[in-house]
């Protein structure tokens, strides 16, 4: 039973979160340094045998999808969830009961951060505290001054512990409160601002959970397809039941021949209902139709391959670079259109290159297979033809094709909402965290100020001191 309790405590502890984050950071480092998704042969070729073995054994060739990376992420989610659930009651209690003059003054070390005669509300207003509560409290101000910084540092450590363990802090404060609640009747002013900021770290953890959940669900349920072709072609969008027609594809060039924009005009048809929707998709401006997003993803070159035999055209195929045509007339004969060079030339080693992206001297790199045996491979230029036995092949009409990526990820909004929540929570945690300011009147009628904040208490103490000094200066100049 004790062992179970220990495991339970460990699973929800910050120590576990820190260990997980460190391992995840190390895994991310490995994933960014080791090329991902390569075949095994690549690692054995580029790394020492033992290193390549370790990469494959640990799944470092695909770190971000391997089981242990997913397991670590799930453990992090569990830790965040447990931490959030268990801290919730303590935070709620602190929100309801934690911000009272009695608690604040009881936890005070009685070191005044500022002293003011007359109306204390002036300093409250100067520091942005507008709802000031007034009353009387049983307090005893000692003569000595133990130092402002010490007091606020103690406060900071105390509120920091709220983040770590709310229950402990409450216990400490309650003990001090008893000491402060003996009868007396000294005038007191108290104000608190940004109470909601207490939830900053908690909401940040919740936001992280939502982000991870959105990302994970997206990975599981998103669908992704690619459709490519030249204007006039209609192709199915995977198994969605929709068809995509490429109406037009244009590449806008600048004066220096660099690409300004790629734009595809497309029409999507619901094959079941016949409904058609269309529009243009360009880089950075995807098109949303039928709950799917259509991205202008890539482009390349396509060409028409003519196959002739005995002076008769057997077939005509429109091929994008990388595609092949099986020749129906002879089983096992196929022509692969490997690559296209719009401004073809050969470099010093005889390798094909293109001198520019302009269509000046088209060159078609092809390979011909017959029953998986290479029977021909070369670069064909305009006007040339390939002859294999009785067959002749001609490439013509090169034209750019467009590649449209089609995506549907219903959980991306969940991830976005999580991200927004994290951002808002960080603003709460770092800038709108709770600050308390109080003033107690001493025997001479002077108001002694104290304050504490959930973060950076030392700097808040200085802020109070600066506001006090500014106030005095202003009042002196007004008096003059």
């Amino acid at each position: 039973m004790d062992q179970l309790k220990k495991v339970w405590r460990f699973l929800r502890s910050m120590k576990f979160a820190v260990i997980l984050l460190l391992i995840l950071a190390a895994a991310c480092t490995a994933g960014s340094v080791i090329p991902q998704g390569q075949p095994t042969a690549w690692y054995t070729e580029h790394y020492a045998q033992q290193a390549a073995g370790a990469v494959m054994l640990l799944g470092l060739d695909d770190v971000f999808h391997c089981w242990w990376f997913v397991a670590l992420t799930l453990f992090l989610c569990l830790n965040l969830l447990l931490c959030s659930v268990l801290r919730f009651p303590a935070l709620l209690r602190r929100m309801r009961e934690g911000f009272t003059p009695a608690r604040a003054i009881a936890a005070w070390d009685w070191a005044p951060l500022a002293k003011l005669e007359g109306e204390p509300e002036r300093l409250f207003a100067k520091l942005g505290f507008h709802s000031v509560r007034s009353g009387k409290m049983a307090v005893h101000l000692p003569d000595g001054n133990s130092g402002a910084a010490e007091g606020t540092e103690a406060d900071e450590a105390e509120t920091d512990r709220v983040e770590a363990d709310g229950a402990e802090t409450d216990r400490v404060e309650t003990d001090r409160l008893k000491a402060a609640e003996s009868a007396d009747g000294r005038p007191v002013r108290y104000a608190v601002k940004y109470k909601a900021g207490l939830w900053g770290a908690w909401l940040c953890h919740l936001g992280m959970l939502v982000v991870i959940a959105g990302f994970g669900l997206g990975q599981m349920f998103k669908s992704e397809y690619t459709v490519y072709g030249v204007p006039g072609q209609t192709k199915p969008v995977g198994d969605t039941g929709y068809e995509l027609t490429i109406d037009d594809f244009s590449i806008a060039l600048r004066d220096d021949d660099t690409v300004d924009q790629y734009t595809s005009e497309i029409t999507v048809t619901d094959t079941a209902g016949g409904e058609q929707l269309g529009g243009s998709a360009s880089v950075n401006a995807p098109l949303s139709l039928f709950g799917m997003k259509f991205y202008q993803n890539s482009t390349g070159w396509a060409a028409t391959l003519e196959t002739w035999k005995d002076g008769k055209k057997l077939q005509e195929d429109l091929l994008c670079a990388g595609e092949y045509a099986a020749i129906a007339d002879l089983e096992g004969l196929a022509v692969v259109f490997n690559a296209f060079y719009p401004d073809y030339a050969e470099d010093e080693s005889g390798q094909p290159v293109t001198l520019s992206s302009a269509l000046k001297n088209p060159g078609y790199l092809y390979t011909i297979y017959y029953h998986d045996q290479v029977v021909g491979m070369n670069v064909l230029t305009a006007g040339e033809k390939i002859t294999v036995e009785d067959y002749e092949f001609i490439f013509r009409d090169p034209q750019p094709y467009t590649l449209i990526q089609v995506k549907r990820d219903p959980f991306r909004y969940l991830a976005a909402a999580g991200g927004l929540l994290v951002l808002c929570a960080l603003i709460l945690a770092f800038y709108l965290y709770p600050r308390e300011l109080w003033a107690v009147q001493d025997e001479d009628g002077v108001w002694c100020f104290g304050g504490r904040s959930a973060k950076a208490g030392l700097l808040f103490a200085e802020e109070i001191g600066r506001a006090w000094a500014d106030l005095k200066k202003e009042e002196q100049s007004d008096g003059k």
Binding site: M14, A17, V18, L21, L22, L24, A25, C28, T29, G31, S32, V33, Q36, F64, A149, E153, A157, D160, R161, E163, A164, F215, E224, R254, D256, T258, V259, D260, Q261, Y262, S282, V283, N284, A285, P286, K293, Y295, N297, Q405, K407, R412, A415, A416, G419, L420, V422, L423, L426, I427, F430, Y431, K455, A456, L458, L459
Partner: protein, 276 residues
């Protein structure tokens, strides 16, 4: 005035900025080494002048290039140095201690020196970079990295503070360790908030441009690693044993991650951010 003229002016301004930052660094060293208060004050004015000219240089380049000057190694490096200078001046104004400059100016000078070594050629943007998100994403990165630069300098100061003889000069001009720790925390908070914003805006932009808001691209991954390192810093500060010295060491490591994310990833690891 033609765009080439603007770029020539920017070239001159950039050189002047380098000279001013160098002068400020020397003055800050004199301030600390010889304990001359006037040198510290003068260094502050020189830094402010350098910042004004730096801003003018960035604006001039933006006009000359006809776009935001945030798209290549040179432009981001000079903007990065500008971001650190901006955060430094804000922290200087808020916490009022000149000695911070002696630790920040070398960082600024190194980064602007790196910028000086990069090509200043203005190129047209590739379609993926032609987005309004570019300005939001990169400008928030500048603020984030700038704040982390300040936290790095403050943390270095913290780590060296213990080795300094506790003279009246140090007591007057260098805050005690607790305050340095608090200031470093404020700088990390600012940087962390903006880094989160950087990652979120980057994800939104990536979703629009590449169809995927997270692709485990090396730049994305290293941004996440940096985010994790600073998240660890923030969590470990809550543990008593990690406050102060250990936190300062973590802030230094965090900034090294920032530098690697910016320079190392671009130069050593290929990815879809390789143009940056």
């Amino acid at each position: 005035m033609g765009s080439d003229r603007f770029l020539q002016v920017e070239n001159g301004l950039f050189t002047a900025v380098m000279v001013l930052y160098l002068a400020a660094m020397v003055l800050y060293f004199i301030f600390l080494a010889v304990k001359r208060e006037k040198a510290g004050k003068a260094a502050g004015y020189v830094m402010a002048a350098g910042f004004v000219l730096h801003t003018a240089a960035l604006v001039t380049r933006g006009i000359g290039a006809g776009r935001l000057p945030l798209t290549n190694q040179y432009e981001f490096a000079t903007s990065f140095a500008w971001g650190i200078c901006l955060c430094f001046l804000i922290f200087l104004w808020k916490y009022r201690f000149q000695a911070l400059g002696a630790f920040v100016t070398p960082v600024i000078f190194l980064i602007i020196g790196y910028a000086a070594m990069q090509s200043r050629e203005v190129r047209e943007l590739m379609p993926a970079l032609r987005s309004n998100w570019l300005g939001i994403h990169v400008s928030t990165a500048i603020i984030s990295y700038g704040a982390f630069g300040v936290s790095f300098a403050v943390s270095l100061m913290f780590l060296l503070r213990r080795n300094m003889k506790d003279s009246a000069f140090w007591q007057e001009h260098i805050p005690d360790e607790r305050k340095l720790d608090a200031i470093s925390y404020r700088a990390v908070s600012l940087g962390f908030l903006f880094l989160t914003f950087v990652i979120i805006t980057g994800a939104i932009w990536a979703e629009r441009a590449w169809g995927s808001y997270w692709s485990w691209d090396p730049k994305e991954t290293w941004s996440l690693i940096t985010w994790i390192i600073y998240a660890l810093y923030l969590h470990l500060r809550l543990s008593r044993g990690w406050k102060d010295r250990s936190a300062a060491i973590f802030a230094v490591i965090g900034f090294l991650c920032v530098i690697f994310t910016y320079i190392g990833v671009n130069t050593l690891i290929p990815g879809i951010h390789s143009y940056a």
